[in-house]
């Protein structure tokens, strides 16, 4: 079987439906399936990566040529993001292996596989309606996962998520509808080509619908009311999935659409402003949280604000920095959610005040949390340092010194609330010790992440070398259109 980007979508989807079946036979085998799938996908990702960097791979589903059939576009950007998703997915599986032991865990894995399917789908697809479908797959899986623990708060969080998520899908669907109405096509490249003829009024209207719709999932303020609840009430690995995979895919979708269809600067500056507001409010709220996972959720929102700022600059260094930050944030926030998961598990409470002295009792878990905290604050030699630095530099290149200052202020706030937790972990005497041990799979997952974070921090070149073509791809719309539509084969001459 030759390797193809289709497998990123097909394999996990297939696995998702296979899992309940296998579950009938053997519960234990079910746990292994996602691991195998994701390992395989990582293998695919690493193999396809060089090819994607060299020349974008454009796959046509069902044999239609673009712009008719559904296409998959596997360029450097998609290559980068799918690799990220599969890797993070694998680590999350590893962590879940011993963390999600409550029945019905086969459903958990099924939904998890659906989430992976949805995310890779969003990233890979070259068709806007297809993107909507994948968004919905992701969303439905996410609603269910939020309520996975079947407790009071989980249901509440999931319902809020669903309520707002439905708005999101409505708006996105409306936008797609308008696009179809105006251009008569659903292929992204084709839309981009024809968008030029669309009247500006319509364009703006579509854009607003997209921003609102996708902004909900991308956690732009004030559309992010669902996020803290969902992150904090879902099981910890799910929080990591949200922060590490789902949001990243959505931001990708938003940015792809904006760059492809509405590439003008006033819009981009709007993103800078929204990013700054999102970041500041999220960080300020995070500072006053009493629950660790809720704090992490707000911190995630803040980081997304940062990413949005960088995307909004509309320069190649800016986009690259944003991608870098996405990468780092995926790793680091996953690590934080993992360790927070076990900290909550051991302390038996979600409250930060219950964490006193856990550092002595559970040194490794706490160490990973401290590690993640230092990394996300952006201290060297961890990965977070470089991406923050790049973002700042690109912001300054755009002569937005105020934004630089605001980012740094939010970083100071970040320091305060993260280090408060870290110092509690290590330096307060605990009252009781928990005899349960942190399982090896969880520690291994955190260990992998920590090593990668440190490695990237020490050798940022490894990631940056990939990011440059990825950023260029996002910026270079005409190239996307050309390869996406096989223009050299002259198909564009067909007028719709």
């Amino acid at each position: 079987m030759s390797l193809s980007p289709v497998q990123f979508i097909a394999v996990p989807l297939f696995a998702a439906f296979l899992i309940p079946l296998i579950g009938k036979a053997s519960k234990e085998t079910v746990k292994l399936v996602p691991g195998i799938v994701l390992l395989y996908l990582s293998y695919v990702a690493l193999n396809l990566f060089p090819r994607g960097l060299e020349r974008p791979i454009v796959e046509h589903i069902a044999g239609f040529n673009p712009p008719f059939g559904i296409t998959l576009y596997y360029g450097p950007l998609a290559a980068f993001l799918t690799t990220l998703v599969t890797l993070i997915g694998f680590v999350i599986w590893l962590y879940s292996y011993k963390f999600i032991i409550r029945e019905p865990f086969e459903k958990y894995y099924m939904l998890f596989m659906l989430l992976i399917t949805g995310s890779t789908g969003i990233i890979l697809t070259g068709d806007i309606f297809n993107m909507f479908v994948f968004l919905e797959i992701t969303a439905i899986a996410a609603y269910s996962l939020t309520a996975f623990l079947r407790d009071k708060d989980g249901a509440e969080a999931a319902f809020k998520y669903l309520l707002i998520g439905s708005f999101s899908s409505t708006f996105v669907l409306l936008a797609i509808l308008l696009i179809y109405m105006q251009t008569g096509t659903l292929n992204l490249a084709d839309i981009a080509l024809k968008m030029a003829d669309v009247p500006i009024t319509m364009k703006i209207f579509i854009l607003i619908l997209f921003i609102t719709g996708l902004g909900i999932e991308a956690e732009i303020f004030p559309l992010n009311g669902w996020a803290p609840d969902a992150y904090s009430q879902a099981p910890s690995p799910v929080g990591a999935v949200f922060g590490g995979i789902v949001v990243k895919a959505t931001i990708y979708a938003l940015m792809r659409i904006v760059y492809l269809m509405f590439n003008f600067h006033s819009v981009l500056h709007f993103f800078v402003i929204m990013g700054v507001i999102t970041m500041l409010i999220a960080e300020m709220s995070a500072m006053r949280q009493h629950q660790i996972k809720r704090m992490l959720a707000f911190s995630s929102i803040g980081q997304m604000g940062l990413v949005i700022i960088a995307f909004g600059l509309g320069t190649e260094p800016g986009v690259r920095a944003a991608l870098f930050q996405m990468f780092n944030h995926a790793l680091i926030k996953t690590l934080l959610f993992f360790s927070a998961g076990y900290l909550v598990f051991h302390s038996g409470s979600k409250h930060i005040s219950a964490l006193d002295g856990l550092g002595r009792d559970k040194p490794l878990t706490s160490f990973f949390f401290a590690f993640g905290a230092l990394a996300i604050i952006g201290l060297p030699p961890f990965a977070g340092f470089w991406s923050k630095l790049y973002i700042l530099l690109s912001v300054a290149d755009a002569h937005l010194v105020t934004v630089v200052v605001l980012i740094l202020i939010s970083a100071v706030i970040e320091i305060v609330y993260y280090l408060r937790v870290v110092s509690r972990l290590y330096f307060k005497r605990e009252t009781a010790t928990d005899v349960r041990r942190t399982p090896l799979s969880g520690l291994a997952a955190m260990g992998i992440l920590a090593v990668v974070i440190l490695f990237v921090g020490l050798y940022p070149n490894t990631i940056l070398d990939w990011l440059t073509p990825a950023a260029r791809e996002l910026m270079n719309t005409s190239e996307y259109i050309r390869t996406g539509l096989h223009l050299n084969s002259g198909l564009l001459s067909i007028n719709f």
Partner: protein
């Protein structure tokens, strides 16, 4: 073998090894730590002759590491102090827990400082700066519960400083497209003047926080006092000098090129002088020995800042001289306070008393330390103070010098209190069984103490390397004799004569009084004293330590009443409640969130209409 990369590899590798050793073979840990720091000393010593500059690309940046005399000066201080403090820590830390953590962070701090002084570009400077900051934060919060808020305060202030610096770096990058220091120096005048002053101010704030410049000093007393003593010695001795290192570069390499130089000089010099004076006042009213020394550190750093800001050759010399010397004597003082803590479990000056006969070597160190701080001849401190005053007067900062003099006179108060409360005074029963600190602690202390004497006699052994280091800032020559001090009006002090005179008279007088007295006198306890003819009873409290300087406190009450610390706390509290208010946006009601979505959409529509004139 001797190169910057090996230096970093050994130091950071040693840090990790020490951590691993703690959790596997504990016996190896100390060995690894000592060998690492000793190798550090060796490599730093050999670096100038052998090292070549290292340059490589990291992302968009050209990273440059190189050795010059200026950085060499500070690197040597770091290496030697690191070595001594680590030896000191062997016994001091023996009983503590989590030593792997302690030593790992300790070595990381040292490595970070090497990185700072040897970096020739802003990115690696900032990189190592942050490494140093967080690892030192880890050590500040090492000790105990109270350390949490203190550590946080330290980190927040450090972060504000670091981010000020980062802003400057970012501005430089955006305008000059470079991170190399040398390119920056050459092209600094190409920046617009507004940008120049912004960059200078940001850098001064950045480095000023670490060197505890007012009003950014509030983290320092607590952080110094609470961190474990071996680290405090390094903290105050070497880490704070990183700020000085940077201020030197900013003031003499950047600000000197700008049109605002005179203004910058005056303002920074005054800030330094006020820092020195106020810190001294605060030091006088402290009751904890380490806190007293912490304020003293702030004060001394103030002097150094003044020296750098004035910017004449003599003042720069005095500043760097004092910087080096301060590294040594403040480490000595902290170490002696630590030795007291090690034996008695307290550094509270109202409690501990009369240790001189129990801990003579510690006392000797403390004595040499305070004489050096006070700047009294014949020890090294005098040379530094002398040069500073001469330079300040001769550069026309007449009122500045008064403030400095006032600060240094007031310094006698806290210095005397430090040594009197801990070592002199009544010998109380509860300290009867105290022994001298172990050898690993006394030996480094005494070596450093003797070194201050050597510097006092031959200031040249500092002056000549510092003179070389000043070549980094321009062409300054100091062809002084090894034992003489010379000012710009041609007046001089010959330290050799001074020391010989003092030594001779001292020895003659000492011999005289000893010969006359040693047969006849006998030692009696400090309870056996005459208090206006009454014989004190056994239980009578004869210790005079509480409120030692009450009259002076009353005199300076208006100064003590106001505290920047309180202002900061107030700001922080208000900010927090403001944040609290903000998060009420998240009402918890799903419908409200949905409403936000709809409103957001509506607002965007309205804006779109306003901006683009779209009719909907």
């Amino acid at each position: 073998m001797v190169s910057l990369t090996t230096l970093y590899e050994i130091t950071f590798g040693g840090a990790i090894l020490a951590f691993i050793a703690q959790h596997t073979i504990k016996q190896l840990r100390t060995f690894i730590v000592i060998v690492t720091s000793a190798l550090g000393v060796y490599i730093v010593w050999r670096l100038p002759s052998q090292a070549t500059d290292i340059s490589f690309r990291l992302g968009d940046f050209q990273i440059l590491w190189g050795v010059n005399e200026y950085s060499q000066l500070f690197a040597l201080l770091i290496a030697v102090l690191g070595f001594f403090t680590l030896i000191y820590s062997i016994d001091f830390m023996k009983e503590r827990e989590r030593l792997g953590y302690f030593y790992m962070n300790f070595l990381i701090v040292i490595g970070g400082m090497y990185g700072i002084v040897y970096s020739q570009d802003l990115i690696s400077l900032f990189f190592f700066w942050e490494i140093m900051t967080w690892s030192s934060f880890m050590l500040v919060i090492y000790c105990c519960d109270d350390a949490q808020s203190i550590g946080l305060k330290y980190f927040v202030f450090s972060a504000i400083g670091a981010y000020a610096m980062l802003t400057a770096i970012v501005l430089i990058w955006a305008n000059l497209e470079t991170t190399s220091l040398s390119v920056l120096f050459e092209n600094f005048t190409n920046l617009s003047s507004g940008l120049q002053i912004t960059v200078i101010v940001l850098f001064i704030v950045g480095f000023g926080v670490k060197s505890a410049m007012m009003p950014f000093h509030v983290w320092a007393p607590d952080a110094y006092a609470i961190s474990p003593t071996p680290f405090t010695a390094l903290f105050s001795g070497a880490l704070s000098k990183m700020g000085i290192w940077g201020l030197g570069i900013v003031l003499l390499k950047l600000a000197a090129q700008s049109g605002f130089y005179v203004w910058v000089q005056d303002i920074v010099a005054w800030i330094g002088a006020i820092t020195a004076l106020l810190a001294t006042f605060y030091a006088i009213v402290q009751t904890d020995a380490k806190k007293l020394l912490a304020y003293s550190s702030i004060g001394q750093l103030g002097y150094i800042i003044v020296g750098l800001a004035i910017g004449t050759p003599l003042s720069i010399m005095s500043a760097l001289f004092l910087a080096m010397l301060h590294g040594i004597f403040k480490a000595m003082l902290f170490m002696s306070a630590g030795a007291v803590f090690y034996r008695t479990g307290s550094t509270d000056m109202n409690e501990v008393t009369g240790l001189i006969r129990k801990m003579p070597w510690t006392f000797l160190t403390a004595l040499f330390g305070i004489i050096t701080v006070a700047g009294v001849p014949p020890l090294g401190g005098f040379a530094a103070k002398w040069m500073l005053y001469e330079a300040t007067i001769q550069s026309g900062h007449y009122f500045l010098v008064i403030v400095l003099f006032a600060a240094s006179t007031a310094a006698f108060l806290y210095l005397y209190r430090f040594i009197f409360s801990l070592f002199l005074g009544q010998e109380e029963k509860e300290y009867a069984d105290i022994k001298e600190a172990p050898l690993t602690m006394t030996v480094p202390m005494v070596i450093m103490a003797l070194f201050t004497l050597v510097v006092g006699v031959f200031p040249g052994i500092f002056i000549n390397p510092i003179g070389n280091a000043m070549g980094y800032f321009g062409n300054y020559t100091f062809n002084w004799d090894v034992s003489s001090l010379l000012n710009e009006w041609g007046n001089h002090v010959d330290m050799m004569t001074v020391v010989m005179t003092i030594g001779a008279i001292f020895i003659i007088a000492a011999i005289f009084i000893t010969i006359k007295n040693y047969r006849t006198t006998r030692y009696v306890t400090t309870k056996d004293i005459h208090t206006s003819g009454e014989i004190p009873t056994e239980n009578e409290n004869l210790t005079y330590a509480v409120d030692f300087y009450k009259p002076f406190e009353r005199a300076i009450a208006p100064v003590l009443k106001r505290s920047i610390d309180k202002t900061y706390n107030l700001i922080a509290e208000n900010l927090e409640s403001a944040f609290d208010f903000l998060r009420y946006v998240y009402t918890g009601n799903g419908q409200t969130y949905a409403l936000y979505v709809v409103l957001f959409l509506a607002v965007l529509m309205v804006f779109a209409e306003l901006i683009f004139g779209i009719q909907l």
